[in-house]
Amino acid sequence: MNEKLDSNAIRQMLNRSAARLDQPALARLREARELALARYDARQAAPAFAWADTGSHGFTGGLRTGYYYLASAILLAAFLFSLANLGQHALEHDESEVDIAILTDEMPIDVFVD
Protein backbone atom coordinates (compact mmCIF):
# COMPACT_ATOMS: atom_id res chain seq x y z
CA MET A 1 0.00 0.00 0.00
CA ASN A 2 3.03 2.19 0.28
CA GLU A 3 3.74 2.14 -3.46
CA LYS A 4 2.63 5.26 -5.36
CA LEU A 5 -0.42 4.69 -7.57
CA ASP A 6 -0.55 6.32 -10.96
CA SER A 7 -3.73 6.80 -13.01
CA ASN A 8 -3.11 3.68 -15.11
CA ALA A 9 -2.79 1.51 -12.04
CA ILE A 10 -6.02 2.94 -10.63
CA ARG A 11 -7.85 2.33 -13.91
CA GLN A 12 -6.68 -1.29 -14.00
CA MET A 13 -7.73 -1.84 -10.41
CA LEU A 14 -11.20 -0.41 -11.15
CA ASN A 15 -11.55 -2.57 -14.26
CA ARG A 16 -10.62 -5.68 -12.28
CA SER A 17 -13.13 -4.76 -9.57
CA ALA A 18 -15.85 -4.05 -12.14
CA ALA A 19 -15.30 -7.45 -13.71
CA ARG A 20 -15.97 -9.06 -10.35
CA LEU A 21 -19.31 -7.21 -9.83
CA ASP A 22 -22.45 -9.31 -9.87
CA GLN A 23 -25.22 -8.78 -12.45
CA PRO A 24 -27.75 -6.95 -10.17
CA ALA A 25 -25.06 -4.43 -9.13
CA LEU A 26 -24.11 -3.87 -12.79
CA ALA A 27 -27.76 -3.35 -13.71
CA ARG A 28 -28.20 -0.75 -10.93
CA LEU A 29 -25.07 1.09 -12.03
CA ARG A 30 -26.25 1.12 -15.66
CA GLU A 31 -29.68 2.44 -14.60
CA ALA A 32 -28.13 5.22 -12.52
CA ARG A 33 -25.87 6.23 -15.41
CA GLU A 34 -28.79 6.42 -17.86
CA LEU A 35 -30.83 8.50 -15.41
CA ALA A 36 -27.94 10.92 -14.94
CA LEU A 37 -27.50 11.23 -18.71
CA ALA A 38 -31.23 11.88 -19.20
CA ARG A 39 -31.12 14.73 -16.63
CA TYR A 40 -28.04 16.14 -18.26
CA ASP A 41 -29.79 16.16 -21.67
CA ALA A 42 -32.86 17.89 -20.23
CA ARG A 43 -30.73 20.70 -18.80
CA GLN A 44 -28.89 21.09 -22.05
CA ALA A 45 -32.26 21.47 -23.83
CA ALA A 46 -33.20 24.55 -21.78
CA PRO A 47 -30.01 26.48 -21.08
CA ALA A 48 -31.90 29.79 -20.74
CA PHE A 49 -33.48 28.57 -17.58
CA ALA A 50 -30.39 27.07 -16.02
CA TRP A 51 -30.31 29.99 -13.57
CA ALA A 52 -33.73 29.07 -12.31
CA ASP A 53 -32.97 25.44 -11.63
CA THR A 54 -34.06 24.79 -8.11
CA GLY A 55 -33.20 21.16 -8.10
CA SER A 56 -36.78 19.98 -8.07
CA HIS A 57 -35.85 16.59 -9.38
CA GLY A 58 -39.46 15.37 -9.34
CA PHE A 59 -40.21 17.28 -12.54
CA THR A 60 -39.25 16.06 -15.94
CA GLY A 61 -37.20 18.45 -18.05
CA GLY A 62 -40.14 19.26 -20.34
CA LEU A 63 -42.53 20.08 -17.54
CA ARG A 64 -39.95 22.30 -15.89
CA THR A 65 -39.25 24.12 -19.13
CA GLY A 66 -42.99 24.71 -19.59
CA TYR A 67 -43.25 26.13 -16.09
CA TYR A 68 -40.52 28.65 -16.67
CA TYR A 69 -41.91 29.68 -20.05
CA LEU A 70 -45.24 30.32 -18.31
CA ALA A 71 -43.57 32.22 -15.48
CA SER A 72 -41.60 34.32 -17.94
CA ALA A 73 -44.73 35.09 -19.95
CA ILE A 74 -46.60 36.17 -16.81
CA LEU A 75 -43.68 38.31 -15.66
CA LEU A 76 -43.49 39.96 -19.07
CA ALA A 77 -47.25 40.62 -19.07
CA ALA A 78 -47.01 42.10 -15.56
CA PHE A 79 -44.12 44.31 -16.65
CA LEU A 80 -46.01 45.57 -19.71
CA PHE A 81 -49.11 46.20 -17.63
CA SER A 82 -47.08 48.22 -15.12
CA LEU A 83 -45.55 50.20 -17.95
CA ALA A 84 -48.99 51.02 -19.37
CA ASN A 85 -50.20 52.04 -15.90
CA LEU A 86 -47.19 54.27 -15.47
CA GLY A 87 -47.86 55.95 -18.82
CA GLN A 88 -51.50 56.51 -17.92
CA HIS A 89 -50.51 57.96 -14.55
CA ALA A 90 -48.04 60.36 -16.21
CA LEU A 91 -50.74 61.45 -18.66
CA GLU A 92 -53.23 62.10 -15.87
CA HIS A 93 -50.63 64.01 -13.90
CA ASP A 94 -49.90 66.20 -16.91
CA GLU A 95 -53.64 66.81 -17.40
CA SER A 96 -54.01 67.84 -13.77
CA GLU A 97 -51.17 70.30 -14.10
CA VAL A 98 -52.84 71.93 -17.12
CA ASP A 99 -56.18 72.01 -15.28
CA ILE A 100 -54.59 73.83 -12.36
CA ALA A 101 -52.91 76.25 -14.74
CA ILE A 102 -56.27 77.04 -16.40
CA LEU A 103 -57.97 77.47 -13.05
CA THR A 104 -55.35 79.84 -11.73
CA ASP A 105 -54.30 81.76 -14.84
CA GLU A 106 -55.15 85.45 -15.01
CA MET A 107 -56.81 84.79 -18.39
CA PRO A 108 -60.54 84.21 -17.87
CA ILE A 109 -61.53 80.57 -18.12
CA ASP A 110 -64.07 81.41 -20.86
CA VAL A 111 -61.21 82.19 -23.24
CA PHE A 112 -60.35 78.51 -23.23
CA VAL A 113 -63.82 77.02 -22.85
CA ASP A 114 -66.05 76.94 -25.93
Partner: protein, 131 residues
Protein backbone atom coordinates in the same frame (compact mmCIF):
# COMPACT_ATOMS: atom_id res chain seq x y z
CA UNK B 1 -40.59 27.23 -8.45
CA UNK B 2 -39.29 30.07 -6.30
CA UNK B 3 -39.88 32.43 -9.22
CA UNK B 4 -43.54 31.44 -9.26
CA UNK B 5 -43.90 32.26 -5.57
CA UNK B 6 -43.20 35.94 -6.31
CA UNK B 7 -45.80 36.18 -9.06
CA UNK B 8 -48.79 36.95 -6.82
CA UNK B 9 -46.76 39.74 -5.22
CA UNK B 10 -45.76 41.20 -8.58
CA UNK B 11 -49.31 40.97 -9.89
CA UNK B 12 -50.68 42.59 -6.75
CA UNK B 13 -48.40 45.57 -7.35
CA UNK B 14 -49.71 45.93 -10.88
CA UNK B 15 -53.38 45.80 -10.08
CA UNK B 16 -55.22 49.10 -9.67
CA UNK B 17 -55.65 50.17 -6.11
CA UNK B 18 -58.88 49.34 -4.37
CA UNK B 19 -61.65 51.92 -4.32
CA UNK B 20 -60.23 55.25 -3.19
CA UNK B 21 -63.48 57.19 -3.18
CA UNK B 22 -63.79 59.43 -0.13
CA UNK B 23 -66.79 61.16 1.32
CA UNK B 24 -66.56 64.89 2.03
CA UNK B 25 -66.33 64.24 5.77
CA UNK B 26 -63.31 62.01 5.23
CA UNK B 27 -61.30 64.80 3.65
CA UNK B 28 -58.70 66.63 5.72
CA UNK B 29 -59.48 70.24 6.73
CA UNK B 30 -56.95 71.56 4.19
CA UNK B 31 -58.50 69.46 1.41
CA UNK B 32 -61.96 70.72 2.41
CA UNK B 33 -60.70 74.29 2.34
CA UNK B 34 -59.19 73.85 -1.13
CA UNK B 35 -62.27 72.15 -2.54
CA UNK B 36 -64.87 74.17 -0.61
CA UNK B 37 -66.83 75.24 -3.74
CA UNK B 38 -67.54 71.57 -4.42
CA UNK B 39 -68.62 70.60 -0.91
CA UNK B 40 -72.25 70.17 -1.94
CA UNK B 41 -71.59 67.82 -4.81
CA UNK B 42 -68.39 66.08 -3.71
CA UNK B 43 -69.98 62.83 -2.57
CA UNK B 44 -71.73 62.42 -5.93
CA UNK B 45 -68.57 62.85 -7.98
CA UNK B 46 -67.07 59.78 -9.63
CA UNK B 47 -64.01 58.37 -7.92
CA UNK B 48 -61.68 59.28 -10.76
CA UNK B 49 -62.85 62.88 -10.69
CA UNK B 50 -62.36 62.98 -6.94
CA UNK B 51 -58.80 61.75 -7.34
CA UNK B 52 -58.03 64.48 -9.80
CA UNK B 53 -59.54 67.14 -7.57
CA UNK B 54 -57.52 65.84 -4.64
CA UNK B 55 -54.47 66.49 -6.75
CA UNK B 56 -55.67 70.11 -7.08
CA UNK B 57 -56.10 70.25 -3.32
CA UNK B 58 -52.53 69.05 -2.82
CA UNK B 59 -51.30 71.95 -4.96
CA UNK B 60 -53.63 74.52 -3.40
CA UNK B 61 -51.37 75.29 -0.44
CA UNK B 62 -48.56 76.36 -2.74
CA UNK B 63 -50.68 78.84 -4.71
CA UNK B 64 -50.58 82.59 -4.16
CA UNK B 65 -53.67 84.18 -2.52
CA UNK B 66 -54.74 85.54 -5.92
CA UNK B 67 -54.47 82.13 -7.54
CA UNK B 68 -56.34 80.54 -4.66
CA UNK B 69 -59.18 83.01 -5.14
CA UNK B 70 -59.30 82.37 -8.90
CA UNK B 71 -59.32 78.65 -8.35
CA UNK B 72 -62.23 78.93 -5.92
CA UNK B 73 -64.16 81.12 -8.35
CA UNK B 74 -63.64 78.76 -11.26
CA UNK B 75 -63.72 75.33 -9.68
CA UNK B 76 -67.48 74.91 -9.72
CA UNK B 77 -67.74 75.98 -13.38
CA UNK B 78 -64.81 73.76 -14.36
CA UNK B 79 -66.35 70.82 -12.59
CA UNK B 80 -69.66 71.35 -14.40
CA UNK B 81 -68.05 71.14 -17.85
CA UNK B 82 -68.29 67.93 -19.83
CA UNK B 83 -65.10 65.87 -20.23
CA UNK B 84 -65.01 66.96 -23.90
CA UNK B 85 -65.20 70.65 -22.99
CA UNK B 86 -62.40 70.21 -20.48
CA UNK B 87 -60.38 68.36 -23.09
CA UNK B 88 -60.82 71.19 -25.62
CA UNK B 89 -59.94 73.79 -23.00
CA UNK B 90 -56.71 71.92 -22.22
CA UNK B 91 -55.85 71.78 -25.89
CA UNK B 92 -56.43 75.51 -26.26
CA UNK B 93 -54.39 76.26 -23.17
CA UNK B 94 -51.51 74.09 -24.43
CA UNK B 95 -51.64 75.88 -27.78
CA UNK B 96 -51.70 79.26 -26.03
CA UNK B 97 -48.67 78.22 -23.95
CA UNK B 98 -46.72 77.65 -27.15
CA UNK B 99 -47.35 81.17 -28.44
CA UNK B 100 -44.22 83.39 -28.13
CA UNK B 101 -44.12 85.16 -24.73
CA UNK B 102 -44.43 88.68 -26.19
CA UNK B 103 -47.56 87.68 -28.18
CA UNK B 104 -48.98 86.03 -25.08
CA UNK B 105 -48.37 89.20 -23.09
CA UNK B 106 -50.20 91.23 -25.79
CA UNK B 107 -53.20 88.91 -25.63
CA UNK B 108 -53.26 89.08 -21.84
CA UNK B 109 -53.09 92.89 -22.04
CA UNK B 110 -55.97 92.98 -24.54
CA UNK B 111 -58.14 90.77 -22.37
CA UNK B 112 -57.30 92.88 -19.32
CA UNK B 113 -58.25 96.09 -21.16
CA UNK B 114 -61.44 94.53 -22.44
CA UNK B 115 -62.45 93.61 -18.92
CA UNK B 116 -61.52 97.00 -17.51
CA UNK B 117 -63.47 98.70 -20.33
CA UNK B 118 -66.53 96.65 -19.57
CA UNK B 119 -66.32 97.58 -15.92
CA UNK B 120 -65.86 101.30 -16.71
CA UNK B 121 -68.78 101.42 -19.16
CA UNK B 122 -71.12 100.14 -16.53
CA UNK B 123 -71.48 96.73 -18.07
CA UNK B 124 -71.35 94.38 -15.19
CA UNK B 125 -68.27 92.28 -15.43
CA UNK B 126 -68.78 88.76 -16.60
CA UNK B 127 -69.86 86.79 -13.61
CA UNK B 128 -67.14 84.63 -12.20
CA UNK B 129 -67.19 81.47 -14.27
CA UNK B 130 -68.17 79.46 -11.26
CA UNK B 131 -71.54 81.20 -10.89
Amino acid sequence: MRTLLFLPLILACCLPAASLAKSWSELTPSQQQALAPLSGKWDALPEKRQQKLLHFAARYEKLSPEQKERMHQRLQHWSDLTPEQRHHAREKYRAFSKVPPEKRAQVRQMVREQQTGKAASGVPPAPPPGH
